[in-house]
Protein backbone atom coordinates (compact mmCIF):
# COMPACT_ATOMS: atom_id res chain seq x y z
CA UNK A 1 0.00 0.00 0.00
CA UNK A 2 1.14 3.48 -0.87
CA UNK A 3 0.68 4.79 2.65
CA UNK A 4 2.95 2.18 4.24
CA UNK A 5 5.50 2.65 1.47
CA UNK A 6 5.60 6.35 2.23
CA UNK A 7 6.06 5.68 5.94
CA UNK A 8 8.85 3.19 5.39
CA UNK A 9 10.49 5.60 2.92
CA UNK A 10 10.47 8.36 5.52
CA UNK A 11 11.88 6.04 8.16
CA UNK A 12 14.45 4.74 5.72
CA UNK A 13 15.74 7.99 4.36
CA UNK A 14 15.33 10.39 7.25
CA UNK A 15 16.07 8.29 10.35
CA UNK A 16 19.26 10.30 10.89
CA UNK A 17 17.38 13.59 10.88
CA UNK A 18 14.64 12.25 13.14
CA UNK A 19 17.13 10.84 15.63
CA UNK A 20 19.07 14.08 15.66
CA UNK A 21 15.86 16.02 16.24
CA UNK A 22 14.92 13.61 19.00
CA UNK A 23 18.32 14.10 20.62
CA UNK A 24 18.07 17.88 20.55
CA UNK A 25 14.50 17.81 21.83
CA UNK A 26 15.55 15.65 24.77
CA UNK A 27 18.65 17.73 25.44
CA UNK A 28 16.80 21.05 25.42
CA UNK A 29 13.85 19.72 27.44
CA UNK A 30 16.06 18.04 30.04
CA UNK A 31 18.62 20.80 30.52
CA UNK A 32 15.88 23.43 30.32
CA UNK A 33 13.85 21.70 33.02
CA UNK A 34 16.88 21.27 35.30
CA UNK A 35 17.98 24.89 34.93
CA UNK A 36 14.37 25.98 35.31
CA UNK A 37 14.16 24.02 38.56
CA UNK A 38 17.37 25.63 39.81
CA UNK A 39 15.93 29.06 38.96
CA UNK A 40 12.75 28.10 40.80
CA UNK A 41 14.68 26.94 43.88
CA UNK A 42 16.82 30.09 43.93
CA UNK A 43 13.83 32.41 43.66
CA UNK A 44 12.05 30.28 46.26
CA UNK A 45 14.94 30.72 48.68
CA UNK A 46 15.22 34.44 47.97
CA UNK A 47 11.50 35.07 48.33
CA UNK A 48 11.31 33.40 51.75
CA UNK A 49 14.19 35.33 53.34
CA UNK A 50 12.72 36.98 56.46
CA UNK A 51 12.37 40.74 56.06
CA UNK A 52 15.47 42.46 57.36
CA UNK A 53 15.27 45.06 60.11
CA UNK A 54 17.86 47.11 58.25
CA UNK A 55 15.94 49.67 56.14
CA UNK A 56 18.30 49.65 53.14
CA UNK A 57 18.42 45.85 53.03
CA UNK A 58 14.65 45.56 53.30
CA UNK A 59 14.21 47.98 50.38
CA UNK A 60 16.57 45.88 48.25
CA UNK A 61 14.63 42.78 49.30
CA UNK A 62 11.37 44.36 48.25
CA UNK A 63 12.83 45.35 44.87
CA UNK A 64 14.19 41.85 44.25
CA UNK A 65 10.84 40.30 45.18
CA UNK A 66 9.05 42.70 42.85
CA UNK A 67 11.47 41.80 40.05
CA UNK A 68 10.81 38.09 40.60
CA UNK A 69 7.07 38.72 40.48
CA UNK A 70 7.42 40.64 37.21
CA UNK A 71 9.55 37.84 35.76
CA UNK A 72 7.01 35.19 36.74
CA UNK A 73 4.03 37.16 35.44
CA UNK A 74 5.65 38.08 32.12
CA UNK A 75 6.95 34.63 31.29
CA UNK A 76 3.83 32.80 32.43
CA UNK A 77 1.60 35.28 30.68
CA UNK A 78 3.12 35.04 27.20
CA UNK A 79 3.51 32.07 24.83
CA UNK A 80 6.96 30.52 24.63
CA UNK A 81 6.86 30.86 20.85
CA UNK A 82 6.54 34.63 21.17
CA UNK A 83 9.31 34.73 23.80
CA UNK A 84 11.54 32.78 21.44
CA UNK A 85 10.98 35.27 18.61
CA UNK A 86 11.44 38.33 20.84
CA UNK A 87 14.61 37.02 22.50
CA UNK A 88 16.21 35.61 19.34
CA UNK A 89 15.57 38.54 17.02
CA UNK A 90 15.89 41.12 19.79
CA UNK A 91 19.39 39.80 20.41
CA UNK A 92 20.16 39.89 16.68
CA UNK A 93 19.09 43.53 16.32
CA UNK A 94 20.97 44.52 19.48
CA UNK A 95 24.16 42.83 18.34
CA UNK A 96 24.52 43.90 14.74
CA UNK A 97 23.05 40.76 13.25
CA UNK A 98 24.91 38.24 15.37
CA UNK A 99 22.40 35.66 16.41
CA UNK A 100 22.55 33.44 19.48
CA UNK A 101 23.83 29.94 18.72
CA UNK A 102 20.64 27.95 18.22
CA UNK A 103 20.87 25.11 20.72
CA UNK A 104 22.04 27.28 23.65
CA UNK A 105 19.38 29.81 22.63
CA UNK A 106 16.76 27.06 22.77
CA UNK A 107 17.98 25.89 26.16
CA UNK A 108 17.99 29.48 27.41
CA UNK A 109 14.43 30.14 26.29
CA UNK A 110 13.07 26.89 27.71
CA UNK A 111 15.00 27.46 30.97
CA UNK A 112 13.69 30.91 31.74
CA UNK A 113 10.20 29.95 30.68
CA UNK A 114 10.27 26.84 32.87
CA UNK A 115 11.92 28.88 35.64
CA UNK A 116 8.85 31.10 35.84
CA UNK A 117 6.57 28.09 36.31
CA UNK A 118 9.02 26.41 38.70
CA UNK A 119 9.13 29.55 40.84
CA UNK A 120 5.44 29.12 41.52
CA UNK A 121 5.72 25.35 41.95
CA UNK A 122 8.58 25.74 44.45
CA UNK A 123 6.71 28.49 46.27
CA UNK A 124 3.74 26.18 46.67
CA UNK A 125 6.12 23.46 47.84
CA UNK A 126 7.68 25.72 50.46
CA UNK A 127 4.30 26.95 51.70
CA UNK A 128 3.18 23.35 52.15
CA UNK A 129 6.06 22.61 54.55
CA UNK A 130 5.05 22.79 58.22
CA UNK A 131 6.13 26.03 59.89
CA UNK A 132 7.58 23.93 62.72
CA UNK A 133 10.29 22.65 60.38
CA UNK A 134 11.54 26.20 59.86
CA UNK A 135 11.32 27.03 63.56
CA UNK A 136 13.17 23.89 64.63
CA UNK A 137 15.92 24.56 62.10
CA UNK A 138 16.26 28.22 63.07
CA UNK A 139 16.28 27.33 66.76
CA UNK A 140 19.24 24.98 66.12
CA UNK A 141 21.18 28.04 65.00
CA UNK A 142 21.01 27.55 61.21
CA UNK A 143 20.91 30.60 58.98
CA UNK A 144 18.25 31.02 56.29
CA UNK A 145 20.38 29.48 53.59
CA UNK A 146 21.24 26.42 55.70
CA UNK A 147 17.63 25.98 56.77
CA UNK A 148 16.60 25.97 53.12
CA UNK A 149 19.40 23.79 51.83
CA UNK A 150 19.42 21.07 54.47
CA UNK A 151 15.90 20.96 55.82
CA UNK A 152 13.30 22.64 53.63
CA UNK A 153 14.44 22.07 50.03
CA UNK A 154 14.90 18.28 50.42
CA UNK A 155 11.32 18.06 51.65
CA UNK A 156 10.09 20.47 49.00
CA UNK A 157 11.81 18.42 46.30
CA UNK A 158 10.01 15.30 47.37
CA UNK A 159 6.68 17.11 47.38
CA UNK A 160 7.06 18.86 44.04
CA UNK A 161 8.61 15.98 42.11
CA UNK A 162 5.33 15.07 40.38
CA UNK A 163 4.94 18.69 39.22
CA UNK A 164 8.54 18.80 38.07
CA UNK A 165 8.20 15.60 36.04
CA UNK A 166 5.03 16.98 34.57
CA UNK A 167 6.88 20.14 33.60
CA UNK A 168 9.57 18.01 31.95
CA UNK A 169 7.04 16.13 29.85
CA UNK A 170 5.39 19.42 28.89
CA UNK A 171 8.79 20.75 27.86
CA UNK A 172 9.44 17.75 25.60
CA UNK A 173 6.32 18.72 23.71
CA UNK A 174 6.76 22.48 23.95
CA UNK A 175 10.30 22.58 22.55
CA UNK A 176 8.51 22.13 19.23
CA UNK A 177 7.69 25.84 19.22
CA UNK A 178 11.41 26.58 18.95
CA UNK A 179 11.16 25.65 15.27
CA UNK A 180 10.17 29.28 14.66
CA UNK A 181 13.75 30.33 15.28
CA UNK A 182 15.14 27.28 13.51
CA UNK A 183 16.28 25.15 16.44
CA UNK A 184 16.80 21.69 14.99
CA UNK A 185 14.54 19.80 17.35
CA UNK A 186 12.16 17.04 16.32
CA UNK A 187 9.33 19.21 15.02
CA UNK A 188 11.74 21.34 12.99
CA UNK A 189 13.14 18.21 11.38
CA UNK A 190 9.58 17.20 10.55
CA UNK A 191 8.95 20.53 8.82
CA UNK A 192 12.13 19.95 6.80
CA UNK A 193 11.24 16.38 5.92
CA UNK A 194 7.76 17.36 4.75
CA UNK A 195 9.21 19.90 2.32
CA UNK A 196 11.33 17.12 0.82
CA UNK A 197 8.68 14.37 0.77
CA UNK A 198 5.59 16.55 0.23
CA UNK A 199 3.86 14.08 2.57
CA UNK A 200 2.55 16.08 5.48
CA UNK A 201 0.30 13.42 6.97
CA UNK A 202 2.82 10.57 6.87
CA UNK A 203 5.66 12.74 8.16
CA UNK A 204 3.74 14.11 11.11
CA UNK A 205 2.25 10.73 11.91
CA UNK A 206 5.76 9.33 12.32
CA UNK A 207 6.77 12.31 14.46
CA UNK A 208 3.57 11.99 16.48
CA UNK A 209 4.42 8.40 17.33
CA UNK A 210 7.98 9.38 18.29
CA UNK A 211 6.74 12.14 20.60
CA UNK A 212 4.26 9.80 22.21
CA UNK A 213 6.77 7.03 22.81
CA UNK A 214 9.10 9.59 24.34
CA UNK A 215 6.60 11.21 26.70
CA UNK A 216 4.93 7.94 27.62
CA UNK A 217 8.13 6.13 28.55
CA UNK A 218 9.44 9.15 30.44
CA UNK A 219 6.23 9.54 32.39
CA UNK A 220 6.50 5.88 33.44
CA UNK A 221 10.17 6.23 34.30
CA UNK A 222 9.62 9.32 36.43
CA UNK A 223 6.77 7.66 38.27
CA UNK A 224 9.19 4.90 39.23
CA UNK A 225 11.68 7.47 40.47
CA UNK A 226 8.98 9.18 42.49
CA UNK A 227 8.10 5.89 44.13
CA UNK A 228 11.74 5.27 44.95
CA UNK A 229 12.24 8.78 46.33
CA UNK A 230 9.22 8.63 48.59
CA UNK A 231 11.47 6.33 50.59
CA UNK A 232 11.42 2.80 51.86
CA UNK A 233 8.65 2.28 54.30
CA UNK A 234 10.73 0.02 56.52
CA UNK A 235 13.52 0.66 59.00
CA UNK A 236 15.84 -1.36 61.18
CA UNK A 237 15.73 -1.60 64.91
CA UNK A 238 19.27 -2.12 66.17
CA UNK A 239 19.30 -4.46 69.09
CA UNK A 240 16.37 -5.65 71.16
CA UNK A 241 15.74 -6.10 74.86
CA UNK A 242 16.77 -9.72 74.78
CA UNK A 243 19.50 -9.63 72.13
CA UNK A 244 21.54 -6.42 71.81
CA UNK A 245 22.98 -7.48 68.45
CA UNK A 246 19.70 -8.32 66.79
CA UNK A 247 18.53 -6.29 63.82
CA UNK A 248 14.82 -6.21 63.32
CA UNK A 249 13.31 -4.79 60.12
CA UNK A 250 10.12 -2.99 60.84
CA UNK A 251 7.59 -2.12 58.18
CA UNK A 252 5.55 1.02 58.47
CA UNK A 253 1.98 0.50 59.46
CA UNK A 254 2.65 -2.73 61.37
Amino acid sequence: MNFFNNISNILDKYTGLLLKGLGYTMLIALVGTVIGLIIGLCTGIIRTIPTSKNKAVSIIQRCVNALISVYVEVFRGTPMMVQAMVIYWGFAFANGGNTLPLIPAGIFIVSINTGAYMTEIVRGGIISIDKGQFEAAYSCGMNHFQVMLYVIIPQVMKNILPSVSNEFVINIKDTSVLNVIGVMELFYQATKIQTMTYQIFETYLVVCVIYFIMTFSITRLLRLVEKKLSGSNSYTICGSQSDPNAEIRVKEGQ
Binding site: D130, G132, Q133, E135, A136, A137, Y138, S139, C140, G141, M142, N143, Q146, Y150, V151, P154, Q155, K158, G231, N233, Y235, T236, I237, C238, G239, S240, V250, E252
Partner: protein, 245 residues
Protein backbone atom coordinates in the same frame (compact mmCIF):
# COMPACT_ATOMS: atom_id res chain seq x y z
CA UNK B 1 21.25 41.81 89.11
CA UNK B 2 22.98 38.66 90.14
CA UNK B 3 26.32 37.99 88.50
CA UNK B 4 25.64 34.44 87.34
CA UNK B 5 22.36 35.06 85.45
CA UNK B 6 22.51 33.24 82.12
CA UNK B 7 19.37 34.80 80.75
CA UNK B 8 17.77 37.98 81.97
CA UNK B 9 14.50 39.38 80.67
CA UNK B 10 13.92 43.00 81.49
CA UNK B 11 10.67 44.82 80.75
CA UNK B 12 10.02 42.38 77.92
CA UNK B 13 6.94 43.23 75.87
CA UNK B 14 5.34 41.56 72.90
CA UNK B 15 2.19 42.44 71.03
CA UNK B 16 0.62 40.98 67.93
CA UNK B 17 -1.06 44.00 66.37
CA UNK B 18 -3.48 45.35 68.97
CA UNK B 19 -3.15 42.28 71.12
CA UNK B 20 -0.62 42.73 73.92
CA UNK B 21 0.52 39.26 74.89
CA UNK B 22 3.48 40.10 77.11
CA UNK B 23 3.47 43.15 79.34
CA UNK B 24 6.59 43.97 81.27
CA UNK B 25 8.15 40.59 81.93
CA UNK B 26 11.17 40.55 84.26
CA UNK B 27 12.99 37.30 84.91
CA UNK B 28 16.47 36.12 85.76
CA UNK B 29 17.61 32.57 85.07
CA UNK B 30 20.79 31.36 86.77
CA UNK B 31 22.96 28.49 85.68
CA UNK B 32 21.62 25.10 86.65
CA UNK B 33 18.14 26.34 87.44
CA UNK B 34 15.08 24.40 86.30
CA UNK B 35 12.23 26.84 85.92
CA UNK B 36 8.68 25.71 85.34
CA UNK B 37 6.34 28.23 83.79
CA UNK B 38 2.69 27.54 84.50
CA UNK B 39 -0.50 29.38 83.74
CA UNK B 40 -3.66 29.09 81.72
CA UNK B 41 -3.74 29.10 77.92
CA UNK B 42 -3.20 32.55 76.46
CA UNK B 43 -1.30 33.79 79.48
CA UNK B 44 1.81 34.39 77.33
CA UNK B 45 3.98 31.48 78.55
CA UNK B 46 4.83 30.13 75.11
CA UNK B 47 5.28 33.58 73.62
CA UNK B 48 7.80 34.41 76.32
CA UNK B 49 9.72 31.24 75.53
CA UNK B 50 9.63 31.94 71.80
CA UNK B 51 10.88 35.47 72.45
CA UNK B 52 13.88 34.09 74.32
CA UNK B 53 14.83 32.14 71.18
CA UNK B 54 13.86 35.11 69.00
CA UNK B 55 11.34 33.05 67.08
CA UNK B 56 9.19 36.02 67.98
CA UNK B 57 10.74 39.47 67.87
CA UNK B 58 9.98 41.36 71.13
CA UNK B 59 8.10 44.64 70.79
CA UNK B 60 9.91 46.18 73.71
CA UNK B 61 12.35 45.55 76.55
CA UNK B 62 15.55 43.57 76.49
CA UNK B 63 16.72 39.98 76.56
CA UNK B 64 20.23 39.62 77.97
CA UNK B 65 22.32 36.52 77.46
CA UNK B 66 25.37 36.45 79.70
CA UNK B 67 24.95 40.20 80.11
CA UNK B 68 24.67 41.02 76.39
CA UNK B 69 21.52 42.19 74.64
CA UNK B 70 20.82 39.47 72.07
CA UNK B 71 19.19 41.93 69.69
CA UNK B 72 22.41 43.90 69.60
CA UNK B 73 24.30 43.81 66.31
CA UNK B 74 27.42 42.44 68.03
CA UNK B 75 25.59 39.22 68.96
CA UNK B 76 25.31 36.73 66.12
CA UNK B 77 21.81 35.35 66.16
CA UNK B 78 22.78 31.90 64.88
CA UNK B 79 25.52 31.49 67.50
CA UNK B 80 23.14 32.55 70.24
CA UNK B 81 20.44 30.17 69.09
CA UNK B 82 22.93 27.29 69.03
CA UNK B 83 23.48 27.88 72.77
CA UNK B 84 19.78 28.11 73.57
CA UNK B 85 18.14 24.92 72.36
CA UNK B 86 14.42 24.50 72.02
CA UNK B 87 12.09 21.51 72.30
CA UNK B 88 8.71 22.03 70.67
CA UNK B 89 5.21 20.89 71.51
CA UNK B 90 4.89 19.41 68.00
CA UNK B 91 8.41 17.83 68.13
CA UNK B 92 9.34 19.32 64.74
CA UNK B 93 11.83 16.63 63.84
CA UNK B 94 13.29 17.21 60.38
CA UNK B 95 11.10 14.95 58.26
CA UNK B 96 13.73 14.42 55.59
CA UNK B 97 16.25 12.90 58.01
CA UNK B 98 16.49 9.74 60.11
CA UNK B 99 16.41 10.00 63.87
CA UNK B 100 20.21 9.86 63.97
CA UNK B 101 20.66 12.51 61.26
CA UNK B 102 18.27 14.77 63.14
CA UNK B 103 20.85 14.85 65.92
CA UNK B 104 23.98 14.71 63.73
CA UNK B 105 23.29 17.17 60.91
CA UNK B 106 22.62 20.30 63.02
CA UNK B 107 25.94 19.74 64.82
CA UNK B 108 27.77 19.44 61.52
CA UNK B 109 26.03 22.42 59.94
CA UNK B 110 26.02 24.84 62.86
CA UNK B 111 28.92 23.75 65.08
CA UNK B 112 31.08 22.51 62.17
CA UNK B 113 31.77 19.23 63.90
CA UNK B 114 33.07 16.33 61.84
CA UNK B 115 30.68 13.52 61.01
CA UNK B 116 32.44 11.07 63.32
CA UNK B 117 32.48 13.47 66.26
CA UNK B 118 28.87 14.50 65.71
CA UNK B 119 27.73 10.88 65.39
CA UNK B 120 29.51 9.92 68.60
CA UNK B 121 27.90 12.77 70.51
CA UNK B 122 24.49 12.12 68.98
CA UNK B 123 24.56 8.39 69.79
CA UNK B 124 25.48 9.20 73.36
CA UNK B 125 22.45 11.43 73.83
CA UNK B 126 20.16 9.13 71.87
CA UNK B 127 21.13 6.42 74.34
CA UNK B 128 20.48 8.81 77.23
CA UNK B 129 16.89 9.26 76.02
CA UNK B 130 16.56 5.51 75.45
CA UNK B 131 16.11 5.61 71.70
CA UNK B 132 19.20 3.68 70.55
CA UNK B 133 17.13 1.07 68.79
CA UNK B 134 15.49 3.59 66.49
CA UNK B 135 18.44 5.52 65.04
CA UNK B 136 17.55 4.45 61.50
CA UNK B 137 13.87 5.26 61.70
CA UNK B 138 12.31 8.20 59.89
CA UNK B 139 10.20 10.58 62.02
CA UNK B 140 7.04 9.32 60.32
CA UNK B 141 7.78 5.86 61.70
CA UNK B 142 8.01 6.95 65.35
CA UNK B 143 5.34 7.50 67.97
CA UNK B 144 4.86 10.91 69.55
CA UNK B 145 6.78 10.05 72.69
CA UNK B 146 9.64 8.60 70.65
CA UNK B 147 9.76 11.70 68.46
CA UNK B 148 9.90 13.97 71.46
CA UNK B 149 12.74 11.97 73.00
CA UNK B 150 14.70 12.27 69.74
CA UNK B 151 13.91 16.00 69.72
CA UNK B 152 15.40 16.24 73.20
CA UNK B 153 18.47 14.28 72.07
CA UNK B 154 18.79 16.72 69.15
CA UNK B 155 18.68 19.67 71.54
CA UNK B 156 21.24 18.04 73.86
CA UNK B 157 23.60 17.20 70.99
CA UNK B 158 24.18 20.90 70.43
CA UNK B 159 25.64 21.13 73.98
CA UNK B 160 23.41 24.09 74.79
CA UNK B 161 23.72 26.36 77.81
CA UNK B 162 19.96 26.55 78.19
CA UNK B 163 17.16 24.29 76.99
CA UNK B 164 13.72 25.73 76.41
CA UNK B 165 10.79 23.30 76.55
CA UNK B 166 7.57 24.54 74.99
CA UNK B 167 4.83 22.31 76.40
CA UNK B 168 6.79 19.19 75.47
CA UNK B 169 4.12 16.73 76.59
CA UNK B 170 0.94 18.52 75.52
CA UNK B 171 0.69 16.83 72.13
CA UNK B 172 1.32 13.35 73.50
CA UNK B 173 -1.09 10.55 74.25
CA UNK B 174 -1.37 10.15 78.05
CA UNK B 175 0.53 6.85 78.11
CA UNK B 176 3.53 8.50 76.41
CA UNK B 177 3.80 11.50 78.72
CA UNK B 178 5.65 9.42 81.29
CA UNK B 179 8.58 8.43 79.08
CA UNK B 180 9.27 12.06 78.12
CA UNK B 181 8.92 13.41 81.65
CA UNK B 182 11.31 10.75 82.85
CA UNK B 183 13.95 11.97 80.42
CA UNK B 184 13.37 15.56 81.48
CA UNK B 185 13.70 14.68 85.17
CA UNK B 186 16.92 12.97 84.38
CA UNK B 187 18.21 16.11 82.64
CA UNK B 188 17.17 18.33 85.53
CA UNK B 189 19.16 16.16 87.89
CA UNK B 190 22.19 16.31 85.60
CA UNK B 191 22.40 20.05 86.09
CA UNK B 192 21.06 21.44 82.80
CA UNK B 193 19.60 24.93 82.81
CA UNK B 194 16.00 24.50 81.72
CA UNK B 195 12.97 26.68 81.21
CA UNK B 196 9.90 24.49 80.90
CA UNK B 197 6.48 25.73 79.89
CA UNK B 198 4.22 22.97 81.13
CA UNK B 199 0.80 21.85 82.21
CA UNK B 200 2.30 18.96 84.20
CA UNK B 201 1.93 20.18 87.75
CA UNK B 202 3.62 17.06 89.07
CA UNK B 203 6.76 17.89 87.13
CA UNK B 204 6.63 21.53 88.23
CA UNK B 205 6.29 20.59 91.85
CA UNK B 206 8.81 17.79 92.08
CA UNK B 207 11.55 18.64 89.61
CA UNK B 208 11.80 22.39 89.19
CA UNK B 209 13.88 24.65 91.39
CA UNK B 210 11.59 27.60 90.75
CA UNK B 211 8.00 27.94 89.51
CA UNK B 212 6.61 30.93 87.69
CA UNK B 213 2.91 31.60 87.37
CA UNK B 214 1.90 33.78 84.47
CA UNK B 215 -1.45 35.38 83.77
CA UNK B 216 -2.58 38.05 81.33
CA UNK B 217 0.93 38.76 80.10
CA UNK B 218 2.43 39.31 83.53
CA UNK B 219 4.45 37.15 85.90
CA UNK B 220 1.99 37.08 88.76
CA UNK B 221 3.91 35.00 91.24
CA UNK B 222 7.23 33.21 91.40
CA UNK B 223 8.98 31.14 94.01
CA UNK B 224 10.07 27.65 94.99
CA UNK B 225 7.55 24.86 94.30
CA UNK B 226 6.87 24.88 98.04
CA UNK B 227 5.97 28.56 98.03
CA UNK B 228 3.79 28.37 94.93
CA UNK B 229 1.93 25.16 95.61
CA UNK B 230 1.69 25.20 99.44
CA UNK B 231 1.91 28.85 100.47
CA UNK B 232 0.21 30.50 97.53
CA UNK B 233 0.05 34.25 98.03
CA UNK B 234 -1.82 35.61 95.01
CA UNK B 235 -5.53 35.12 94.55
CA UNK B 236 -5.19 34.44 90.81
CA UNK B 237 -2.62 31.72 91.38
CA UNK B 238 -4.91 30.09 93.90
CA UNK B 239 -7.77 30.14 91.42
CA UNK B 240 -5.63 28.60 88.70
CA UNK B 241 -4.23 25.88 90.95
CA UNK B 242 -7.63 24.99 92.31
CA UNK B 243 -8.71 24.32 88.74
CA UNK B 244 -5.77 22.17 87.64
CA UNK B 245 -4.97 20.25 90.81
Amino acid sequence: MSENAVIKLSHLEKSFGENEVLKDINLEVSKGEVISVIGSSGSGKSTMLRCINLLEIPSGGEILYEGKNIQDKSVKLTEYRAKVAMVFQQFNLFNNMTALDNCVKPQMIVLKRTKEEATKIALEFIEKVGMSAYVNAKPSQLSGGQKQRIAIARALSMNPEVILFDEPTSALDPEMVGEVLEVMQDLARSGYTMIVVTHEMGFAREVSSRVIFMDGGYIVEEGTPEEIFKNTKQERTKQFLSKVL
